[in-house]
Amino acid sequence: MFIIWEGKVDSSNPFIPHLATIQSVTDLTSDVKLFRIELNDPAVQENFDYKPGQFAFVSAFGIGESPFCITSVAHLSEGLEFAIRRVGTVTNSLHELEEGAIVGVRGPYGNNFPLKDYEGKNIFIIGGGIGMAPLRPVINFILGHRDSYGDLLVINGARTPQDLVFAPEFDTWSQSPNAKLELTVDRGDENWTGRVDLVPNVVKEIKPSPENTIAITCGPPIMIRFTLAALKELGFAPRQIVTTLEGNMKCGLGKCARCNVGDKYICKDGPVFNFEQISSLFEEA
């Protein structure tokens, strides 16, 4: 035999997830649930460090795995939180699971929101629907490091009042010092006294100054498109506007070649990009 092979290499196979247990499942809306998951091996959980903007693959064994942003902040939550909308095969299956169920988790992958670079700046968050999931850890990180940042303004839109994903946290957000939360919906109901308007219109109406401000947005493509236009109108430069991209991806490692946007991979070079970077990509993101 000509091969020197040490064996046991497969224990390091990057496709093998960590086994993890669902600690709690909370209904956030009619189709979004918050899963709190802890990795079964305490040492692995302890070392699972991640930053706002990073993502991980969650497995429903027998169905498949999909990438989800981690919506908790490391060291502020026990384990990992994922806000998952029921929209496809894997998410349907995850929604069937209850506390105590075993899932797989591998990650964290991707870059992150460069929050260190944003210290001293005002932060303007614009989120729509489930697009709030990657923005929640940014908000909670900033509120946890309140003195390091300027004003925090959050505009959160959804189809209906019942679709506002992180409603239980709205009081904490809006009552924090130098923080303001603006909610808007496409369609109100009899109890809704707030705005009924599209997110980009609210941006135009509130007119936050681009001065020393970073705008971070995530939501449906159509919302992003018009929000971007509104921000540019207000004088935001493309590099002051940051988003996180979603892509069909299978590895998270820059190997499966599924999530490239031009010569960049969402999984490895992203998912966080500013619009100066996005406009330099060949392909539409």
């Binding site: 290499v9 497969d10 496709f15 894997v90 998410t91 590895c251 392909e283 993101a285």
Partner: protein, 337 residues
Amino acid sequence: MTQIISKSDLITWLNKLAESHVLIGPVNDNAGVTLFRKVSQAEEIAFDFTNTTLSPKEWFFPPTETLFTVERKDGQVELVPAEDVEAKVIFGMRPCDARGIALLDKPFLNEPADTLYQQHRDKTALIGLSCREVLPECFCTSMGTAPDDSSNMDILLTEVADGYIIQVVTEKGAALLAECPEGLLKQSEVTPPALSSAATVPIEGITEIMAENFDNVYWERLADRCLHCNLCAYVCPTCYCFDVRDYNDKGKVERVRTWESCQSSGFTRIAGGYDRRAGKAPHLRQRFYHKLFYFPAEFGSVACVGCGRCVKACPVNVDIREVIMDVHNLGGQSGQQ
């Protein structure tokens, strides 16, 4: 002086190797298709093949491969890694295909290494065979290799009138040759026969011109006739896009990796239905941009070896050689839509 081995002695040596390794070589099936297949003895090998219908990529990156198995017992879940792969000797690897494997190394062995691929790679030895003839679809010499290129082999054999010239390239190759029964290797003054040259393709400077022509209407026109049949990716030695999915067969759950193609319709579609690369032209454009622009940007070489399989396989004659020439003609003036 060179070492040579007669064909019958080569068969003896390969059969010796087959005692301790899985032996793989080109085999003709009944339908006129030549593929790299396991053989129990070297006599089954089609020594007179030109090139195989599929590249031997499948022995390093199988069309379907189990990554791990999910075992459930008493409410517990255990993930069982894929079994160790067998030690293999592939006989008859053409230089273009060997370069294809060397190109696959770049994404798969890039950190963090794909350990399954790495295992296939480490436990496989390549006994290459120089080409005897240059086929009409061949353009390897434009793509960094040649009919007698030994650089990505462990051993390269070159057929001559009374046998095969042996060129040992790596230590792995030397170890293989050490298993050759005594007395089979002869010294000879013979030199390999000259070959006609392969077609040339103007690959110089292609990435710079690609950079200028992403929005060119050319891609729309080219894609008009594309059927998105995925054959080009299926036969390509360097296409490596993959899918990962779970198979659940009566409670036996496996996570498998399968070949995928950027030409398939759901390639970039995400849950909820949004597809940022909808339409024919963006799909076909992705194929050529990955090969001629993104891969070179990431890894330093064009992801094509000039084997010509996609040229032969395409039912509507999308020909990468023509595409490269056309792109050169587009030049720097982009015909924006």
